[in-house]
């Protein structure tokens, strides 16, 4: 332990202690945590990677990869019923996205801007759809639709999807609106803008990234929703997730892998767009922050 000995007075101190080559930065971040995180991602992604891999398998086998081919994608797109299901799913997701985004944004505006004694209660009530088990929401929607004699179809799926999506939009937009503050709107009116002009020219442009992000989130949620769709779907066309489930009951075909991969791509794309678009619109904040409601001050 010669390096620990204090240098005698007057001796050059530079040589007494070896230069520190590595800052002691790991003491609060143990290595096993890194390993743990690695394991977590492995468990999370391996099944997904396998699905993607086997969607390109040339044989029927779900165990052995025998060669690259696009035959399952071909089968997917050539099957008329699957194509109808895909179109139905996209249609449901698009309509749900537009309607839920408009309604959710208006709801957020009302919740943030109104200051009555009911607004606190309304703010909490609005979260109920987020925590309601989907199976309960689905069963009650089915009950409602049959009670009022509404025939199950794409329309009923859309109604059910809109109902649960509004809350997501409201949560995202409300956070943004709260951070906008009232003075900006006062300033617009002070400068001669009417209430409607203020909303159109000042409030909406400021909310735009949040509205967009919320819309794409809703699209992704609606597109791959199974439980609600299952309860509220009609005979035909069924949305894709329900259709897959029906098909699996008659035996698993590798087409499932192709459909799964395809749906994954669409979901990832819409979430990715939700994260990226605010940046492309020249904002310096990331879409992640907008979605999580964490605004840069």
């Amino acid at each position: 332990m010669s390096t620990e000995v204090a240098p005698s007075p007057g001796a050059p101190t530079g040589t007494a202690r070896p230069a520190r080559t590595k800052p002691p930065k790991d003491f609060d971040r143990p290595r096993f945590l890194k390993a743990f995180v690695g394991l977590f991602f492995l468990v999370l992604f391996v099944p997904i990677v396998l699905v993607i891999l086997f969607s390109f398998n040339s044989s029927r086998s779900l165990q052995n990869f025998e060669g690259f081919s696009l035959r399952w994608y071909q089968e997917f797109f050539e099957s008329e019923s699957l194509r109808d299901s895909l179109i139905a799913s996209v249609e449901i997701a698009l309509i749900t996205m537009v309607v839920a985004t408009v309604l959710g944004t208006l709801l957020a505006y009302g919740l943030v801007r109104s200051r009555t004694r009911w607004s606190n209660a309304a703010n909490v009530m609005m979260l109920v759809p987020l925590v309601t088990p989907e199976i309960v929401a689905g069963a009650s929607a089915l009950l409602l639709f049959t009670q009022i004699g509404l025939e199950l179809s794409i329309t009923t799926i859309i109604l059910a999807h809109i109902t649960f999506s509004i809350s997501y939009v409201t949560v995202v937009v409300r956070a943004r609106l709260a951070s906008l503050g009232r003075e900006v709107e006062s300033a617009a009116m002070d400068l001669g803008a009417t209430r409607w002009q203020t909303f159109r020219l000042v409030t909406l442009p400021a909310l735009w990234p949040a509205v967009l992000a919320a819309g794409l989130l809703v699209f992704a949620l609606s597109f791959d929703d199974f439980v609600l769709s299952f309860f509220t779907t009609g005979e035909s066309p069924q949305p894709l997730p329900v259709r897959i489930w029906t098909q699996i009951r008659f035996g698993v075909r590798p087409t499932i892998n192709a459909i799964g991969t395809f749906m994954l791509v669409i979901s990832v794309l819409s979430i990715g767009l939700a994260l990226l678009l605010p940046r492309l619109f020249g904002r310096k904040e990331s879409g992640l922050k907008v979605l999580l409601g964490r605004e840069a001050a």
């Binding site: 006062s186 002070d190 001669g192």
Partner: protein, 360 residues
């Protein structure tokens, strides 16, 4: 001045504003002249911002009327009033460029494109930001944002500009600099400024007239000098500068202080003998020991604290328990450290009788 204040920029006629049971502004009567730099000064919650918001149209008076250039405005919504506001938070439109921020008001008024361009350029020139017209608000510093907010309001040539603590978010140095600039800009454009602040120094530095408010009521209204030199009561004296209040009793033409000493002062004629009063002397009017001149009122005390504040040193002297005076010593008088009053020293303080105010 005519009955409804046609010659004035703003005229408050018995204006009261209540929020539920709380009275924010209580029977306000005030006339602000055209071209005046008028400040509403007071602690937070005194009703000054509410008064401003009523002029802007964001609040309606519960009672009374407000006239803008002689016209009653109770039925006029904010976007049709010829006033503009500079907000404390700047409230710039983040999605618009600086130029578009400044042009916002003119576009709402359907001003021609060429004129908009010319006036926006003028306004940005006025606040020395003509080179940052394409920038976004987020790229500017706090002081620059404040100037944009000012240009955005002034470009509309309002009859009155309302400023709600516009310098509150700036640091001290920038604040001092902006005070000078604001005053210069106001002189240049000649628009009436109604300025709300809780900073007495700011109000003194910029205003033509100041109204000191407390609990919804104007305590005193006058020029900065009147308010500083002749405060009408303990609240105004205490709010503007350090007031050095000494309790005492009127006694035929002079004041008997609480410690028993008799003090020459200009006692108001209507102050009956035996009435409780407070004697106020500004710190810079107090002379210490060898600075005392003949004819001054003198008191004795002990130095209990000395605070070095750069240009001067504050010396706090206790005359009797609970009776303290603050005196200011310019630091050029005794710059050397071995020649100062130390804590515990006995000193004599003196001031001219006319510098002592008798407050009730």
């Amino acid at each position: 001045m005519s009955e409804n204040g046609a010659g004035s920029a703003i005229h408050f006629e018995a204006v009261t504003k209540r929020f539920g049971d709380a009275v924010a502004v209580d029977d306000l009567n005030l006339e602000i002249q055209r071209g005046e730099f008028f400040s509403l000064l007071g602690p937070s919650g005194c009703g000054k911002t509410t008064t401003l918001r009523m002029v802007g149209g964001f609040e309606q008076p519960s009672e009374g009327r407000i006239f803008l250039e002689g016209e009653p405005v109770e039925t006029v919504p904010p976007y049709e009033r010829n006033v503009n506001t500079v907000f404390q938070s700047y409230a710039l439109f983040e999605h618009l460029s600086i130029e578009d921020n400044v042009a916002f008001g003119l576009k709402r008024r359907k001003v021609g494109k060429d004129e908009i361009r010319r006036r926006v350029a003028e306004a940005l020139e006025l606040v020395e930001l003509h080179e940052r017209g394409d920038a976004r608000p987020r790229e500017l510093s706090g002081g620059q944002k404040q100037r944009v907010a000012l240009a955005r309001a002034l470009v509309n040539r309002p009859s009155v500009l309302l400023l709600d603590e516009p310098l509150g978010a700036l640091d001290l140095k920038l604040r001092k600099q902006m005070q000078v600039e604001l005053k210069g800009i106001q002189r240049e454009v000649g628009i009436t400024f109604l300025y709300v602040t809780h900073d007495q120094e700011e109000a003194l530095a910029m205003s033509d007239r100041i109204a000191v408010m407390d609990a919804g009521v104007i305590k005193q209204c006058g020029t900065p000098e009147e308010i500083y030199e002749h405060p009408v009561g303990p609240f105004v004296a205490g709010f503007i500068g350090v007031s050095n209040l000494l309790p005492g009793v009127c006694e035929n033409g002079s004041i008997r202080l609480a410690d028993g000493s008799l003090c020459d002062a200009q006692v108001p004629a209507d102050c009956a003998a035996g009435a409780d009063v407070q004697l106020s002397v500004r710190p810079e009017k107090i002379a210490i020991d060898d600075e005392i001149e003949p004819g001054m009122v003198t008191v004795d005390g002990t130095v209990v604290e000395r605070v070095y504040v750069g240009t001067s040193t504050q010396i706090i002297v206790e005359l009797a328990p609970g009776m303290r005076l603050m005196a200011l010593e310019q630091n050029w008088v005794r710059a050397r450290s071995d020649d100062r009053w130390e804590i515990g020293n006995r000193v004599k303080l003196g001031w001219r009788p006319e510098h002592a105010l008798v407050l009730r």
